[in-house]
């Protein structure tokens, strides 16, 4: 044997990069520009009794992602093409909680699926780099390390904070990273490549919160929210006319969790297309002057949306404690006085929710008001939606492919010698 170090030279065999979030898990090969797949962070769980009749579905006959559980005979459905199919008694459950992996059983199903269907290679050939939330706890980090080495036999492993990756990929070693994702918005100060963990601030106002607001608003106005799976066909109708559509025949006993999940997907589409943030606090007169946006629902009903599209988005900012601007300035305020100026001087905006039109501009305005006068404020946000959504993944992809980074990995040899506590020693 020629020593452990040669086995995971990143040049010969591609390292893999995993970036888990609440909305999806991003998976792909290092050195590529974008992830190979974006797998939703939910798993559909079917009942054992259903096994016989789901086999009649054409897509389940050939798919190899339906993993039979060992102790129980539940069926698991992973990835959009399988989760989004209406099935009786299929519950939908996420494995993430508070930015961290929580349900390890489901998480393993998704990793199994990723290796089998996305990577299509054996895990023992590829070093693995994972991103993690800045507030991830030791227990969780060690558990992930253990899982990757013990179950998947990876040759090498590394764990990096997603805020650090986002800062680096914007060309900054010191930055305040404002990340607005599905379940929360966080402000994380990064100083010289390390997270100042005592000054991390987060709030539960994210994309999912907006989805709920949209749903409430639309239901209040009596708009029928039938997701696309219910619709068989639809006719063209005039604006604000009642929809004329025929419904699909659906399996019985669809679970509430699955229906909610499908409704949420529909609301995500609505909010990305319709909502917008005003640069200044919401004002009815200003909002009324901005052109309306047209949106057609899956059932064919369509109408223009005017000032309400700003009013709903406003809730991300107008909250006294949890508004994004407040969050960012609180975080900076908790750091040492000598780094505050450099943090205000490089605010990195990332996360899928920041693609909401006007988000960075409004954050800039709110932060300027809260920063000490004559502070030089600088916002850095990637222009493309791919860079904004996959910022942390892209950062990880590059880091794992740098030649000199190969000495940073925790090798399987090191793991065998010192155990899972290696992760605390080697990955800051």
């Amino acid at each position: 044997m020629s020593g452990g170090t040669m086995l995971y030279g990143g040049d010969e065999i591609g390292a893999l990069v995993f970036d888990p979030g609440h909305h999806s898990l991003r998976v792909g090969y290092a050195q590529e520009d974008s992830p190979k797949a974006e797998i939703p962070s939910v798993v559909g769980i079917g009942q054992a009794a259903q096994a016989s009749d789901t086999n009649l579905d054409p897509e389940t006959k050939t798919d190899n992602n339906v993993t039979p559980g060992n102790s129980d005979s539940r069926k698991f459905y992973v990835d959009t093409n399988y989760v989004n199919v209406p099935r009786s008694h299929m519950e939908v459950q996420t494995y993430m909680k508070d930015g961290m992996i929580d349900n390890w059983e489901l998480f393993e199903k998704v990793i199994d699926y990723a290796y089998a269907n996305v990577i299509q290679s054996e895990p023992e050939y590829h070093p693995v780099l994972f991103s993690e939330a800045s507030w991830n706890v030791r227990n969780n980090r060690e558990k992930l390390t253990e899982l990757m080495f013990e179950k998947y036999n990876v040759p090498a492993f590394f764990l990096v904070k997603n805020a650090v990756l986002a800062a680096f990929s914007s060309g900054r070693a010191t930055a305040l990273v404002v990340d607005s994702g599905a379940t929360h918005t966080s402000a994380v100060p990064v100083h010289e490549g390390y997270v100042l963990s005592q000054a991390v601030v987060k709030s539960p106002l994210g994309g999912d919160f907006l989805s709920r607001q949209c749903r409430q608003h639309l239901e209040k106005h009596g708009i029928d929210l039938s997701p696309v799976y219910k619709i068989a066909s639809k006719d063209v109708v005039k604006e604000r006319d009642n929809a004329r559509c025929t419904l699909r025949k659906l399996p019985e006993n669809l679970t509430q969790s699955w229906q909610n999940y499908m409704l949420q997907l529909m609301m995500q589409d609505f909010q990305m297309n319709v909502l917008q943030v005003l640069e200044n606090p919401y004002d009815e007169r200003v909002a009324a002057q901005i052109p309306t946006v047209h949106y057609e629902f899956p059932n064919g009903y369509h109408q223009d949306f005017a000032s309400e599209r700003f009013k709903i988005a406003e809730s991300l900012f107008d909250n006294a404690m949890l508004g994004a601007g407040q969050l960012a300035s609180t975080s900076v305020g908790m750091c040492d006085a000598d780094v505050r100026l450099s943090l205000f001087g490089s605010v990195v905006v990332t996360g899928g929710n920041t693609l909401l039109q006007g988000f960075p501009e409004r954050l800039n305005r709110d932060l300027q008001l809260r920063a000490p006068s004559n502070t030089r404020l600088k916002m850095i946000s990637a222009n493309g939606s791919v860079e904004r959504r996959f910022g942390a993944w892209i950062g990880g992809s590059i880091l794992a492919s740098i030649g000199t980074f190969q000495q940073m990995w925790i090798s399987s040899q090191e793991y065998e010698e010192a155990g899972k506590s290696q992760v605390e020693r080697k990955c800051p």
Binding site: I380, I398, I402
Partner: protein, 150 residues
């Protein structure tokens, strides 16, 4: 603990840095990462060079190239209550990652910045710049002056 990328400085870099710090032999030095392996000296600025020369050399590689730089910056400072001014010289270290640079280079340079900070003892200010408004003379001087107490 080592910094994230694992890239190291060559001995030449430290040598040139000491030439500026102790002997004041050059006005500035610009560093480059070679072959994604190590940090090397790219351009040396003579002692009489001015800030515009520096900005030109910093961008000599083109608008998409990242660089590091150390500059020995001199300015006049008027102490409170004193009528005369005194000349101050301060060393600053710059991370130059232009907005148009490839993400790969941004990542490489920013994740290796800690190595320079660690090895260049005597640098008074670290400046990160992605656009000219952060690298221009006014912005830099403002940052250096903010270190003066009175």
């Amino acid at each position: 603990m080592k910094m994230a990328s694992g890239i190291e400085l060559t001995r030449e870099c430290k040598h040139v840095f000491e030439q500026i710090r102790k002997m004041k032999q050059h006005r500035y030095v610009i560093f480059i990462i070679k072959d994604e392996r190590e940090i090397r000296v790219d351009i040396l600025g003579i002692r009489d060079a001015n800030y515009d020369d520096f900005l030109r050399d910093l961008r000599r590689g083109g608008p998409k190239e990242c660089r590091y730089a150390v500059y020995d910056y001199a300015y006049h400072h008027q102490c409170q209550g004193a009528s005369s001014t005194c000349l101050k010289e301060k060393l600053f270290l710059m991370l130059w990652c232009p907005v148009q640079a490839r993400v790969k280079d941004k990542m490489l340079y920013s994740s290796s910045f800690a190595a320079l900070k660690r090895d260049f003892i005597g640098v008074q200010k670290c400046i990160q710049a992605t656009e000219m408004d952060e690298a221009c003379r006014e912005a830099v001087e403002e940052q250096l002056r903010s270190l003066d107490r009175d």
